[in-house]
């Protein structure tokens, strides 16, 4: 993986760059749609490529490990082959879902034992196994196995947790560096900064992670319930420590406003289920604010979903039609809303990049954050 910085905003820490992987280039800042179980819910890979122009998507190790399982993924030739997607993929380490989805889980130095949320079967994820699994899934960018602390989290727990996360990281790196990719293209491992909302822990973790010298770095454990201001404070502290010349990935963030604010702090990569999950609940993100399409007020609004968008679905389908589909619980509602929201998120980061290149980012960002929160 390579990362080249093309421009830096003069009024903020925002940067524009290009990540190069064996599956193609990704211009940053970038948003990565979440394809949990090998599918970005409700849309297909042609739509992702042609309608949304997604440059990279996410897969969730926990879900893919449980279903379809490593045997199928390996025999398919990896996740790209299995799902028919030839652009970059990033996988998380599985840790986050183990903590959030699995009812029974136990964290020990060795790793985490948990029971599948599907069938209750018992499993053990260790840092080494998380690397092996991600080698088999075959994503271009894979993530270290860490503990994502909840919010709130007491200081002592968070302090102990980053120490374990750092020990786990060394084990991840050792395993990663002594194994090879399985499908003929390169993989790279991103470590993850933790430390909850404690500045000194974030500093300590960021310094540790920076010293590992990997090709890119991530910030985890944010957007887990803390106030946005705390998130921004942590991102700022961490971005100032993580290497300037390497991409920075803020995991699981967030709203369009969160994304713009974090771009201004020097983040390059984002993922979040918000545009896809909220789409399925009828919430649309637009350039003018947020629409709850299920509201009665849209029932007779025959204007296009977003007239000035270059997404076909935004032009040919009306708000009234989308409202009807949602109201009738028709699957097409989720599809159209998902296309819309992902298209908007990718428009947002693409426009942020253009504004960084042209030196207008900061003013544009400040204008947008006052608009994007509007409820239409």
């Amino acid at each position: 993986m390579k990362f080249n910085l093309a421009a830096k905003d003069i009024h903020s820490k925002a940067r524009a760059g290009t990540i190069t992987t064996d599956h193609g280039e990704i211009q940053t800042p970038i948003f990565m749609p979440v394809g949990t179980a090998g599918t970005v819910k409700s849309i297909n890979q042609q739509q992702l490529k042609n309608d949304i122009d997604a440059k990279i998507i996410l897969g969730n190790t926990y879900h893919l490990y449980l279903r379809p399982g490593l045997d199928i993924l390996e025999r398919a030739g990896g996740l790209h082959q299995f799902i028919g997607w030839d652009r970059p993929i990033l996988t998380d380490s599985g840790g986050y879902q183990v903590y959030s989805l699995s009812k029974v889980r136990k964290i020990k130095e060795e790793g985490v034992t948990f029971r599948s949320h599907i069938d209750g079967s018992k499993h053990l994820f260790t840092p080494e196994y998380a690397m092996d699994i991600q080698r088999t899934i075959g994503a271009d960018i894979i993530m270290a196995f860490d503990e994502c602390t909840p919010y709130p989290c007491d200081y002592k727990y968070a302090a102990n947790s980053i120490n374990m996360t750092h020990r786990w990281l060394k084990r991840c790196c050792t395993r990663f560096d002594t194994t090879t990719p399985k499908y003929g293209f390169d993989q790279t491992l991103f470590p993850i900064v933790q430390g909850s909302v404690y500045k000194d822990l974030r500093v300590k973790s960021a310094e540790f992670i920076a010293a590992m010298g990997r090709e890119g770095n991530a910030i985890g454990g944010l957007s887990v319930g803390e106030p946005a201001e705390e998130m921004y404070a942590m991102t700022e502290v961490v971005c100032d420590i993580l290497p300037y010349e390497k991409p920075r990935y803020l995991m699981g963030v967030g709203t369009p406003i969160n994304i713009l604010e974090n771009i201004a702090l020097g983040v390059d990569m984002f993922d979040c289920v918000m545009p896809t999950r909220n789409a399925r609940n009828g919430m649309l993100f637009t350039k003018n604010g947020v629409i709850n399409i299920s509201n009665k007020k849209w029932a007779d609004d025959f204007s296009p979903i977003e007239a000035e968008s270059d997404l076909v679905a935004d032009q040919v389908y009306s708000k009234a039609y989308l409202r009807h589909l949602m109201h009738s619980k028709e699957m097409l509602g989720a599809q159209i809303a998902t296309l819309h929201n992902l298209h908007f998120y990718l428009w947002l980061v693409k426009t942020a990049r253009e504004k960084i290149m042209s030196g207008e980012f900061y003013a544009w960002k400040n204008k947008m954050v006052t608009i994007l929160g509007n409820k239409l």
Copy 2:
């Protein structure tokens, strides 16, 4: 509406023709995907047009009347505008769903009172109102309000029922002929032959319907549980009476084999929920037979869904991936399977047409009906 016959098979009663509507031409034989509530479930209108090349789709009057309702449809400028579909649409009269979906319904000479399956509200459909509703929905081809008898149905009930259906037809025609389209394009009304599985009643009904002199005619009350041989016997009797130079529409039929056999008897138009509904349950129709993609045997079959198909989804997604999506209850499974099945149904009628034109239909049909029933 115009209908031009282009060719007739020499070994069967199959015909190839062209229906011309204000929304474009339809080459027959044709299969019409069912878009119940203004959406062919799980796929969008661009996919219907570009991937499937559907020439005409169906809307269900009962569903559209209840949701989004006539006020919204009229203010949208009709169903075409509302859903963003500029090719022909056919609507049923609402009768069938009143009988099948509504728990409380009462059939009288005036019409049918029923309660909505959605909110229990009470409604009355009369022949006149069914015309008014379909004027408002604005389909190119609209259907007479009839009684679709169940199977089995005793002779006396069926005999009385066709008499009422015929009286209702006169009322439909009077209303239709004294009203005008609302959206600037022509509509045409098809009457429906009933008579259950009784040959003499079918003859009587077909003669009555033929004498009405409408631009096209339909056969209803079949594929409601009777053996296929009884269906074919009724279709044959009726097709021999219905005018040769007008299109014949067999409502709600059916399996790929049913379609081929009925084409051989002189049917030009078909609709059925089977390709879409069964897709959502993981049943795929292919040139080589039927696949239940949920079966374990497909879990590691990495071959394309149907390699020789010209549908992109058939080529880029494997059986193993589709099986994974179905197994994981991912919406994309329904989308891909729906695209596949509709593409197959439209391949089937398109190929039937080519074979009619080239004089090879009968032999091809006989070969196909031995293959299409295979369970793969």
